[in-house]
Amino acid sequence: MTFAMLRRGIVYVLLSLAAFVSVFPFYWMVVGATNTSAEIIKGKTSLGSALITNATAFFTQVDALRIFWNSGVIAVVATALTLLVSSLAGYGFEMFRSRLREKLFGFLLLLLSIPFAAMMVPLFVMFSQAKLVNTFTAVILPTIASIFIIFYFRQATKAFPRELRDAAKIDGLKEWQIFLYVYLPVMRSTYAAATIIVFMANWNNYLWPLVVLQTAENKTITLILSGLTAAYTPDYGLILFGTVLATLPTLIIFFLLQRRFVEGMLGAVK
């Protein structure tokens, strides 16, 4: 009994340590936003009085409204299009199986292993020939058809009750109506989980926007933060203030949809 209790105790200590390490940088980020850069790199862990100074510095150096608008438009449009196109494909691959489409699906999974770096140069040349460099279109277009999300939706569709589809067919619904009125509402947990994954990926996307967005007024918050950090003597107070602002949207989505997310990963169907 005592051995079991000791083991249980060790588990709690280790989990608490892991939780502390996981959460501390968030605390640090918030506290840092209230301290001066000098205090931050000296390791001050208590709240300071520089919040207003940092905020003022951030809003004078960065056209925040514009930059957050850019990030928001890109993330929302890209997420909506990705969910639509990729869930259609996942549903299509699972519901209408044919030998050719199975082969095609296997081929797509192979492509998943090809890193973005291998496509980056031709993509850049393509978009510059189409005169689309420095546009949101160029940022969004290559992200819409995501093999990972197609795969994810196909896996989740395996749990979709086929009787529902058969019943809808007997009621005279067309295929697209079944998708829209039966599949979509039933799979909302899956959509919620995919929304978190895709929104975060787009909001946080870095390398491709870095390549394709060139003027300051078109940049996203991620690019701006990285630019501020690259300074010879970075002003960490200002930067951590910006980091808090940049992290808030994903944190809010995370907490709003967290339960759905875990359900979606479990392939739960309601």
């Binding site: 588990v11 989990l15 892991a18 939780a19 996981s22 959460v23 940088p25 640090w28 980020m29 840092g32 931050i40 790199i41 000296k42 390791g43 001050k44 196109v85 259609l88 494909a89 299509g92 691959f93 519901m95 209408f96 199986r97 489409r101 797509l108 492509l111 292993s113 090809i114 890193p115 770096a117 291998a118 496509m119 980056m120 140069v121 031709p122 040349v125 277009l141 058809a145 093999i147 975060m200 909001w203 946080n204 870095y206 390398l207 390549v211 991620t222 933060l225 990285s226 950090t229 690259a230 930067i239 980091t243 992290t247 994903t250 995370f254 967290q258 875990v262 990963m265 479990l266 392939g267």
Partner: protein, 286 residues
Amino acid sequence: MTGWAFIAPALILLGLFMIYPIVWSLWMSFQVGKGMNLSFGGFANILRLTKDAVFIRALGNTFTFFIFQVPIMIVLALLFAVALNDATLKFRGFFRTAIFLPCATSLIAYSTVFKSMFAIDGVVNQTLMELHLITAPISWLGDPFWAKVLIIMAITWRWTGYNMIFYLAAMQNIDRSIYEAARIDGVPAWARFRYLTIPMLKPVILFTTVISTIGTLQLFDEVYNFSAGSGGPSDSTLTLSLYIYNLTFKFMPSFGYSATVSWVIVVLVGILSFLQFLVARDRRTS
């Protein structure tokens, strides 16, 4: 026909923005020249790889990150998942959320936060000195060895919870009665983990290992941000992706050669994924 209609939009987009660029980049990797003035060079680029000290450095660094980071993270994620799968554990929801929370940050945001925490007089060095674990502050950003360690710790912080959620999800699908039966038969906890949990999680472990391998071999955002784009100190954190970026957009652009370097990543991912599949299959037969 309906089947094709559902997948057509995705196929058209993938064809245009993935398959076409991939084929183009494969063709490009055999081209030599500067800017857009390219001509066929045969295996000249591959030959150049073998003589390019910076490339070999980047390859070595990328491999170091992969070898250390992926196993550490997978093992940690598995252990956390096993601990949190215990229904009698208190505060499960809290622990799970806390460990998963780092995923909600952007790669740039967290690497900036880490950079400020690991400053020479920063909070991490101070804490380590107060605990008497070190006697002098560690130059996390300035020392080639510690810069690598910092990158590995940072990536592990960001992705362990993400992998843990995959394992937790898979564990909930395992039939509890199997564990009960094993427990009643007197099978100790470590043996239940080794002979029940691990084999049943094998497909998920394989999946996450392959995904993490791809991610680590493509490592870019963190090293770019930690080193302000240089891959320093003295190229010690230069990764293949960062080198490709530099070859393409920083130095005199040589699209052909940078395409060749990107295909090195493709080949590496292919070989490593294949090896991981082999290991997973071997264990099943033995």
